[in-house]
């Protein structure tokens, strides 16, 4: 007996799949399944988070609907995965955020933006808010750097703590002792697998999205999004170092490292999310956890808005629009940070942890 109905269904499917095994060359889920004969809740949550939803096993399955065995692994694991996010949320009181995720994220985003706009308006007169500020420290005329760093540092720290607590819960659930053994090889393997989205390629031909013709578009758009995000994050880190170590204040000229990184990342973070959204829109409903449409879309839109407002700020930073745009951008980024542990962002974290576990298991099995 399992804790939820979806885990019951996942167990049924894994029993079907384990007596077939035709899909074992497609991804990591099926080899991991083959290492087991029975499936605990934790095993199923592990498999669910290991699944990249490439859809190949559905298209290749002789027992997928309308067959009476009704085998739909991608959708079943997608639902189980989303339910696991809520189960691992910290603090538990916030797990409800996953239920109506689109609404929650939109509200938090709107409130954050409003808070920054009203904050700026309350603290400054119109001349400052709509004034033209240039040169080093221009942004800090609207919000002192220390205040900005403290606020965002706190938000970021909170997100990290909540995510770590979630991963702890996940790691425990899938049966690993807390305090991951230092297994560098497994960690590196997982970094490689995640970095190239190895298991989003349908076993080599690409993933299945709107029909039975494989394509690599989702992987491409995900790369643009992920590496775009990483570049933007790197840009922020470099800027922070500039500020504290070199005493160089933003805004920086267009050729300087933070701006170059941010611009490149921002472009990726514009194209990637649009592509992902388009692919999500076209995706065959049979593969999708439709109830989580809001969660998927909210996260993609937030990433897109982060980039869009950042790029707008870069282009218009020497005009009177800078003040309102800064408020908008900071509001979006702030809400992105605080909602990270309560939205689609966590998929990357849990999937990475599952990949680490898988790499460890593979090694252990190879030694047996």
């Amino acid at each position: 007996m399992h804790g939820t109905r979806i885990l019951e269904e996942a167990d049924r499917l894994m029993t079907v799949c384990n007596s077939c095994r035709y899909c074992e060359g497609l991804c990591a889920v099926f080899p991991a399944m083959e290492m087991r004969r029975a499936f605990s809740d934790g095993d199923l949550n592990y498999l669910a988070n290991l699944c990249h939803s490439c859809g190949a096993c559905y298209t290749d399955c002789q027992f997928s609907p309308p067959h009476e065995f009704n085998v739909n692994v991608p959708r079943t694991l997608a639902v189980a995965r989303a339910e696991s996010y809520a189960a691992y949320a910290w603090p538990r009181a916030f797990s409800g955020a996953f239920a109506r995720n689109g609404l929650v994220i939109s509200l938090v985003a709107a409130l954050s933006v409003a808070a920054f706009i009203f904050g700026f308006a309350a603290l400054h007169d119109r001349q400052v808010l709509f004034g033209v500020h240039t040169g080093p420290g221009a942004f800090y005329k609207l919000m002192p750097h220390n205040a900005m760093a403290a606020l965002f540092g706190a938000a970021f720290l909170y997100a990290i703590v909540a995510l770590v607590m979630g991963v702890r819960a996940f790691w425990r659930d899938i049966g690993e002792p807390v305090g991951m053994k230092t297994d560098m090889a497994a960690l590196l393997q997982a970094i490689r697998d995640a970095g190239e989205l190895r298991y989003l390629d349908g076993g080599g031909v690409g993933c299945f999205n709107e029909d039975d013709r494989p394509t690599d578009r989702r992987r491409l758009y995900h790369h643009l999004t992920f590496y775009g995000f990483a570049l933007c994050f790197a840009s922020t880190c470099v800027a922070t170092l500039y500020h504290y170590l070199l005493a160089r204040q933003a805004p920086y000229p267009w050729w300087d490292i933070p701006v170059v990184l941010g611009t490149l990342g921002g472009i990726g973070l514009l194209i990637g999310p649009i592509g992902l959204l388009a692919e999500r829109w076209k995706r065959d409903p049979v593969l999708v956890d439709e109830a989580r449409y809001g969660m998927d879309v909210a996260f993609i839109v937030m990433l897109f808005l982060t980039s869009l407002t950042g790029m707008a700020l870069l282009l218009l930073r020497e005009t009177a629009a800078m003040g309102p745009l800064l408020a908008l951008h900071l509001g979006v980024v702030f809400s992105l940070f605080v909602t990270m542990p309560y939205g689609k962002f966590v998929h990357g974290i849990y999937r990475f942890a599952a990949l680490v576990r898988y790499a460890m298991e593979r090694k252990a099995m190879a030694h047996v």
């Binding site: 384990n18 290749d60 002789q62 027992f63 076993g203």
Partner: protein, 466 residues
């Protein structure tokens, strides 16, 4: 969809591996090709849906094959398993052609992988399809579509117009785009056998056929085969022969596929509905003797049998779709199975008493055997004495039939008078009986399909041009 009222160069009837290989090869040879698949799109491909590998000769190990499997060894295997019931010329031709199929099929989009978990014994001889048979089919269909092969689903053919061994046209049950009569310069029949046609099976098996389970789709009714044989094509193969394995009695009537089979026979004993053993469960290593159990169960009363084992061997074989039926005592188990408890207890007690000590090793023909028992269990015999006692009910699962159309090396059908047909070719299960008179070896059906499909398509295209 193209205009189906025009005359095609090549008409392929069927939609599995053989049909698609024929369609692709004919199209690549420049022919206009129409494929009529009688099943709906999801069930396209007949038995190919449920396959997973192909047996091809090769002279050296490859990325996915652990060692060489020469033409001679393949031929020896075929000779042994058919007991000589094979057309040597055709069989050797197929084996020689199978070498190049390993590459050709990859050019058609099919991908290989090393042998699947639980099938290590096939790692040297058989190449496995990445993602299984349906993945293989999907790849062939995509390639065929890209090449411009026309494909129609739900396109059941109810009649063939054949004159003096020459195909003229095929009649559709339901017109497609207003066309109900399909004309073509050449025909490739690749529409499988009749394993899903219970009435036809009954002609040879009597009412026992009512208890057969069909491992593939309900669409393998053999109607094209019947039409061809009725219209003068020479028949080949024993109509009573079929590839049948023991599958779980709880499986659906049709299309249970691979996951309903049991490979646990060697780990226990098999009894019939009277709780009596009837064959040496330890005769040979799985999967070599895997294929005999379907026929063995088919001749038992009510076509049912039970694999009985105990809790010590549960993890010795692949996990099963249906869980074993369990009893804390043999009597309790017998009650759940509907067997006479005292009879089962006696059968197991007699068996246990006959077991001689030995060193168990299921990977070789070990020395664990019975003595003074009829029938004996000649290997892997260990006492059944650790509860819970477990059982799988099994029935014959029919995979494919061997009755077919005679062909020559061009895959061209041969008429009853011995003359080759003017423009009719056959590939796959519908002509498998030419090389496989009886017996079975894993993956050989796919070899027959791909090799003769490719040849049939090429020859049909050539025929259509002339």
């Amino acid at each position: 969809m193209a205009d189906l009222k025009k005359k095609f160069d090549v008409l392929v009837i069927g939609g599995g591996n053989a049909a698609l290989c024929a369609a692709i090869s004919a199209r690549r040879a420049g022919a206009s090709v129409l494929v009529l698949e009688g099943a709906p799109k999801f069930y396209r491909g007949g038995n190919t849906r449920h396959t997973r590998n192909m047996r091809c000769a090769h002279d050296a190990a490859t990325d996915i094959l652990t060692g060489p499997y020469t033409e001679d060894e393949f031929w020896d295997d075929l000779l042994r398993l058919t007991g000589g019931q094979t057309d040597e010329e055709l069989a050797k031709f197929m084996i020689a052609e199978s070498k190049d199929i390993l590459n050709w099929i990859v050019e058609q989009g099919v991908r290989w992988q090393p042998s699947l978990g639980g099938t290590l014994s096939l790692g040297r001889t058989n190449s496995f399809f990445l993602g299984g048979g349906r993945a293989m089919l999907n790849a062939l269909y995509l390639t065929a579509e890209k090449l411009g092969v026309e494909i129609a689903y739900d396109a059941e053919v109810t009649d063939l117009q054949i004159e003096d061994g020459m195909f003229l046209s095929a009649t559709l049950k339901q017109p497609i785009d207003g066309a109900s009569e399909i004309r073509a310069s050449a025909l490739v029949a690749a529409a499988g056998g009749f394993e899903a046609n219970i009435e036809w099976l009954k002609e040879y098996w009597g009412d026992a056929a009512d208890n057969f389970l069909i491992r593939g789709t309900p669409y393998n009714r053999g109607s094209i085969l019947k039409m061809l044989l009725d219209k003068g094509v020479q028949e080949i193969g024993d109509p009573t022969q079929c590839h049948a394995v023991a599958i779980d009695a709880r499986a659906p009537k049709f299309d249970g596929g691979i996951i309903t089979r049991h490979d646990s026979v060697v780990f226990g004993i098999v009894v019939n509905k009277h709780a009596q053993r009837f064959y040496d469960e330890g005769e040979d290593i799985w999967p070599k003797r895997y294929a005999i159990w379907g026929r063995l169960v088919a001749v038992q009363p009510d076509q049912i049998a039970y694999i009985i084992f105990d809790s010590t061997v549960v993890t010795s074989f692949m996990p099963t779709l249906f869980p074993p039926i369990a009893g804390a005592t043999l009597a309790e188990l017998a009650g759940k199975l509907g067997l006479e408890p005292t009879a089962l207890e006696k059968t197991v007690a007699d068996f246990n008493a006959a077991v001689r000590p030995g060193t168990f090793d299921h990977t070789i023909l070990d020395d664990c055997r019975t003595e003074g028992l009829t029938p004996p269990k000649t290997h892997w015999a260990r006492k059944i004495e650790t509860p819970p006692y477990l059982a799988y009910p099994v029935r014959p699962g029919i995979t494919f039939t061997y009755l077919g159309t005679r062909v020559n090396r061009q895959a061209r059908m041969v008429m009853k008078d011995g003359k080759p047909s003017a423009n009719m070719f056959a590939a796959g299960e519908i002509m498998a009986g030419n090389v496989l008179g009886k017996g079975y070896a894993a993956g050989i059906g796919m070899t027959i399909g791909s090799v003769f499909g490719r040849v049939a398509g090429r020859e049909a295209a050539k025929n259509a041009r002339n």
